[in-house]
């Protein structure tokens, strides 16, 4: 066992650092640092820069135009990118749909859709959840009825992240209403510009427009857009979920956010001294740092194992739970650290207030982030669902 980076890994890290120094635009990293909302064009710009370097799809095999990095390389990149305040990569096309297409899609689908994901021609969103089907995803109701060379789709998806920017959505739909729940589901690619698709915004509690409802009213979808076999969609969806969970530990984000909390706590006054010297606060901070350092190693252990061929099963669930708990705790420390300056609200809805938060620490909207990141333990399979999986796998399904 050796926790230090090899010479090659160190060289790779330097390469990443240099790239971030030279190619990450200042205005983008400033926006991320100050917690400002990124415009669609900001995200597209960063994707294009990464794509130009061949680094947009670290997890894809080389044959599809990916970087095919190993676990350690991916970890290094995520950590460096987060510390440099790089925008986060929008995952829906790159790390959710692409692995499914690569494994289950037809050659024609791979050749057509994958390059468009890299080039940014398509912006994908994920249409899984419905009002009545959250944790119990298999109870989904959106219908697709085969009619000659197309399907006719009716129903509603919800919580669709960044659906307002998307032109494409991958959906789980019910193609066999008589089969057992999991067996009548198919995986469909739907063009959002088709007549009958309507996107309605949902405003989250921090004022952001991040998610949407997507309604389907007699939407015609070519049969060619069915991925894999009809009624086998559940298998593909589960495959996708394991990918969704692998980088959900968010180690890089936690490290960046922890560094920011420390910076604030050194600047903030508490009883005439820096807050970081306050025993109660310092203890909270130290404990979370201890946890994070351990979790970073757990993360590496698990992804190395997955890279060596082991499927990230129950460990992915563990990482999801611990990773999100740690991140949420750091968000809590950040809002504590700024004291009364947690209260002002810079909403994207209120034009121009973004740079008006007057706090002396340039902390950004830490309280809004604290609330927004409550989502981390709800989506991607809630933490309760993950614990259910851990218990089921390790104790053989006994309740």
């Amino acid at each position: 066992m050796d926790l230090s980076y090899t010479t090659e890994e160190l060289a790779f890290r330097d390469e990443v650092r240099t790239f971030l120094q030279e190619d990450l635009p200042n205005d983008l990293s400033e926006k991320v640092r100050l917690g400002q909302d990124l415009a669609k064009s900001d995200m597209e710009r960063w994707h294009a820069i990464l794509n130009n370097r061949g680094w947009l799809a670290p997890n894809w095999p080389k044959e599809f135009g990916g970087a095919e990095w190993n676990a350690v390389q991916r970890h290094i990149f995520e950590e460096e990118a987060a510390m440099a305040n790089a925008p986060r990569i929008v995952p829906f096309g790159l790390s959710m749909l692409a692995p499914v297409l690569q494994k289950f899609g037809s050659k024609g689908q791979q050749d057509y859709w994958l390059p468009r994901i890299l080039s940014g021609e398509d912006w994908w969103c994920q249409g899984y959840s419905e009002p009545g089907a959250g944790s119990d995803l298999a109870s989904l109701k959106m219908k697709a009825v085969r009619n000659g060379d197309h399907y006719v789709c009716n129903g509603q998806k919800t919580w669709t992240t960044l659906g307002q920017h998307a032109n494409m959505i991958f959906c789980l739909v019910r193609t066999d209403p008589d089969a057992k729940q999991q067996e009548g589901i198919s995986f469909l690619l739907i063009d959002m510009n088709t007549p009958g698709v309507e996107v309605r915004p949902i405003i989250l509690l921090d004022g952001t427009h991040e998610v949407n409802e997507v309604w389907f009213n007699d939407v015609k979808v070519p049969v060619d857009n069915l991925v894999g076999e009809e009624n086998k969609g559940w298998t593909y969806a589960k495959y996708l979920l394991t990918h969704e969970r692998t980088n959900i530990a968010g180690v890089g984000f936690s490290q960046a956010e922890l560094a920011s909390v420390k910076r604030i706590a050194k600047a903030a006054n508490h009883n005439g001294k820096p807050l970081i010297q306050n025993p109660a606060f310092a203890a909270r901070l130290a404990q979370i740092e201890i946890d994070l350092r351990a979790m970073a190693t757990t993360n590496l252990r698990i992804i190395s194992k997955a890279a060596a061929g082991g499927a990230p099963g129950v460990e992915a669930s563990m990482l999801k739970v611990k990773g999100t708990e740690i991140r949420q705790e750091i968000n809590d420390l950040a809002r504590r650290a700024v004291g009364p300056y947690a209260m002002p609200f810079a909403s994207e809805a209120i034009e121009g207030t973004n740079d008006m938060i007057p706090d002396p620490y340039e902390a950004g909207p830490v309280a809004a982030d604290y609330f927004n990141n409550r989502k981390l333990s709800i989506f991607g399979g809630s933490n309760e669902i993950q614990k259910g999986i851990i218990a089921k796998v390790t104790m053989g399904g006994g309740r």
Partner: protein, 365 residues
């Protein structure tokens, strides 16, 4: 010992709960939050008529309450309904400081709902330290900057703390002044707050004020009114937590996944039970703070209560959201606002850690 409310307090509680339950809907409140002033003048005067403000003052001060339990009853109901109008800052803090200073005429107008006030005390560098004042006063002329001043834009009169003598962190040497809206040299940079309402950064550049408390009395006046405001804030959080737990309990019984109400999953049922247990603790803590208010143990109980409410509040807000799932993350759903009120209460008058430390000091003394 008696744990029932007096008849008058019970009546006030009932009428407030009825009025706010009918009028203060989520949609109405969201409209108010998005409005320019961040408050409703109509709601303000209707609540004043119901006696909300009068209950904050003693009979000597011209009101009909003013004790710890009067404050607790009023603010618990305001909290239950997630009211964003600045009763705490304008009426209670501002009004009680004026009353303490013997400004009876102005207090009368406050009780009628006709005079709006703001306390400009905290500064960018003070965080929660009450004694930290950099703003200076020379012959009644004030210069400095005040941070996150609640209700600054709406206030007709601002009460401003300034240092007449001593070091930045000395308790002695802080005086309080009255400053009229629109006085030369006064700049107000307003912004909305995450949990509703508005505040501002206030800059004073040679602003003329009228002395309200001299340099030997200012700190004590601030400490007294802050203690009272902390009780009010804790009661408000308690009311909001009641709403959060009630919404969560209902949702657990009605939301179905996997063919059954999610509240039938023991993993969730136990967590709901934990919330209910903590709610009893929270209620008792607020009763302690209100009941010991006029004793020499006031500060010990105020700090202990604020610490407990910070812990229980965070638990309730976070768990209520988690047990709901995605729906609680949406602005349209009542819980979203309520959860923000609960957590933001931790950022006023000293947070959980601040009051833990203060409790340690007081209880060791």
């Amino acid at each position: 010992m008696k744990f029932d409310l007096t008849e008058e307090r019970q009546m006030l509680q009932d009428s407030l709960r009825r009025f706010l339950g009918d009028r203060y809907t989520t949609a109405r409140r969201n409209e108010i939050i998005d409005s320019e002033t961040g408050m409703s003048a109509e709601i303000w005067s209707q609540l004043a008529e119901l006696g909300v403000i009068g209950a904050m003052f003693t009979e000597d001060q011209g009101g009909f309450g003013g004790a710890g339990f009067d404050i607790a009853v009023v603010f618990e109901e305001l909290g239950r309904a997630g009211v964003v109008e600045p009763f705490l800052d304008s009426a209670l803090i501002g009004g009680r400081l004026l009353a303490e200073a013997g400004q009876g005429e102005k207090v009368e107008k406050v009780m009628e709902g006709a005079l709006h006030l703001a306390l400009a005390h905290g500064e960018p560098g003070s965080r929660y330290d009450l004694n930290h004042v950099e703003t200076t006063a020379r012959d009644g002329v004030l210069t400095g900057r005040k941070a996150v001043v609640m209700n600054a834009e709406t206030a007709d009169l601002m009460i401003v703390s300034a240092r007449v003598s001593g070091d930045v962190a000395d308790q002695d040497g802080i005086a309080l002044y009255l400053v009229d809206k629109g006085t030369d040299g006064l700049t107000i940079q307003g912004y909305p707050l995450l949990a509703g309402g508005r505040a501002a950064e206030v800059t004073l550049d040679h602003v003329r004020g009228t002395e309200l408390f001299g340099a030997d009395k200012g700190y004590q006046a601030l400490a007294d009114v802050t203690a009272l405001a902390t009780v009010a804030q804790c009661a408000e959080a308690l009311g909001a937590m009641e709403t959060a737990t009630a919404l969560t309990k209902d949702y657990l019984m009605t939301r179905r996944q996997f063919g059954r109400p999610i509240g039938t999953f023991q993993a969730l049922a136990f967590r709901m039970s934990d919330l209910l247990i903590e709610m009893e603790q929270a209620r008792s803590a607020v009763i302690n703070a209100a009941g010991y208010f006029d004793t020499d143990q006031r500060d010990l109980y105020v700090s202990g209560t604020k610490n407990l409410m910070g812990r229980a509040g965070r638990l309730v807000a976070e768990e209520a959201i988690q047990l709901h799932g995605g729906i609680a993350m949406t602005q349209e759903y009542e819980l979203a606002h309520i959860a923000k009120r609960i957590v933001m209460a931790d950022h006023r008058f000293g947070d959980t850690d601040y009051h833990l430390e203060r409790f340690i000091d007081l209880s060791a003394a």
